[in-house]
Symmetry: C2
């Protein structure tokens, strides 16, 4: 199973939108995909029409050792797409688990345990992270082998990348030698401004070999889909947003094939 | 001194852009303004052309009791506008201060101590918060009497407001009875989509009496200004962005006058 953490501590760049719709696009192309909501805001959970206040077990219970991944994962209305929802209590884990031994490895160990017990088998796991580099994001970086970084082509995007690379480097050295940044994805791209073009040119110069060819363009259908509890493929399958995420999914699958 | 926390745990809604440019607009109208960068991303610090890696004392030192506000605050090139910068270490305080007695009251006590010792006197203090409701944001909510909430007229904006109101309520009950949400401000507004109009109508229905009349429209000049280390007034004084933040500043000052 390919495990990918979708993270960027800069807020509002398109992490949740990418996790949901890239996940759905990969499922569309025949992959069995599990998307996890590791953000206490529960945006991904709501985007896929699950109630964050539901009594059913969620990732908060998994982190406290009270539920396995198989008990948390739910089927969605989309074939081959499952979701492991967040709960309203998830914000508490940063402090609740602060003194736990191996606190950064809880998610990784839970995923390994589930696979060992013959849980549902997925081809790809995507973890949506909160806009910070705290304990939840660290758990995702330790549990995964790849990092996918959505960026918005604006000035602050460049400032945050340095810090993110530093943290990924530390996790590689100390906790997870397999971890690598596999892909930077330009999201919410507005080709009409000089700013966007200038920032993307800058990113291509410094990170050219990992910058995805596919650019996710600004498309209001992507911002409307969550209010209907649907992925872009169920809400507006002919939209630019659906095309762009399908092209990104193909690029991601092609990257492995060529590896 | 009017103390205002600029916060919303939803990422990328315009917190930093609002703190810098509302601060500059208030200074433009004759107020003495201090803006504080309480976000470990250091976006506000860089926006005002200060180096987050500088050796000079910053808010990280203030939180550890090693520097007072007067020692941290720096003049900017704008008359009547000062900045208390963040440092690259600020991300560490969530865990470093987790077990400190009264950990949520550190900023408030430092501001009180500085005023008592005859520190620089400001009319208005604005605190830019990170996209989370952790220890840094709680310190801002305890230290301030007002909360200004930038919102982006998109679906996830509504989802987060409930949680923010809940946390503000808890802070009011347990730590700071004076705290109130004084203003919701629609930022990055794009009048051309049905989504924006529908969300704003929804917000007006639920929060009409605190929703600012002024709407901050999408304006690329606001996104370009940070790469020049300038406020919108120094970078593009005739832009829509400058007009909108000036109108918001007038509204904020009028609100007090009428109080
Ligand atoms: N390509 C796009 N076109 C138009 N709107 C988009 C696009 N991608 C995301 N959005 C919208 O932009 C906003 C931010 O996106 P999203 O919530 O996915 O970002 P995020 O990085 O997950 O934010 P946070 O840091 O709060 O977790 C949302 O309102 C979303 O609907
Ligand atoms: N009115 C506007 N018009 C155009 N761009 C804007 C506007 N307001 C903010 N921006 C841009 O949108 C992006 C997000 O804004 P900003 O960084 O101020 O949000 P934030 O809430 O502080 O984000 P974070 O949650 O990461 O702290 C930035 O690239 C900024 O330049
Ligand atoms: Mg998100
Ligand atoms: Mg900010």
């Amino acid at each position: 199973m390919r495990r990918i953490a979708v993270t960027n501590q800069k807020g509002g760049v398109g992490k949740t939108t990418t996790t949901v719709n890239l996940g759905a696009a990969l499922a569309h192309l025949g992959q069995r995909v599990l998307v996890c909501d590791f953000d206490p805001q529960c945006n991904l959970t709501v985007h896929l029409d699950v109630d964050p206040a539901s009594e059913a077990p969620n990732l908060y219970d998994l982190l406290h050792g009270r539920a396995s991944l198989s008990e948390v994962a739910l089927a969605t209305e989309h074939e081959r797409l499952w979701v492991a929802p967040a709960g309203v209590d998830l914000a508490g884990v940063e402090l609740e688990l602060a003194n736990e031994v191996g606190r950064e490895t809880i998610l990784g160990r839970a995923l390994d345990a589930d696979a060992a017990q013959g849980g549902e088998s997925y081809d790809i796991l995507l973890v949506d992270c909160p806009p910070s580099l705290g304990l939840l994001s660290l758990n995702a970086l330790v549990a995964c082998e790849e990092v996918l970084v959505p960026i918005q082509a604006e000035f602050f995007a460049l400032q945050g990348l340095g810090k993110l690379l530093e943290v990924v480097g530390l996790v590689q050295q100390r906790l997870n030698p397999k971890l690598r940044i596999s892909c930077l994805v330009s999201c919410r791209y507005d080709p009409s401004t000089n700013l966007s073009r200038a920032v993307i040119a800058d990113v291509r110069e410094h990170f050219g070999e990992i910058l995805a060819e596919t650019v996710i363009r600004r498309n209001v259908k992507l911002a409307e889909a969550p209010s209907h509890g649907k992925t872009i493929f169920a809400y507006a399958p002919d939209s630019r947003g659906a095309q762009d995420y399908l092209s990104l999914a193909r690029e991601l699958l092609g990257a492995v094939a060529g590896a």
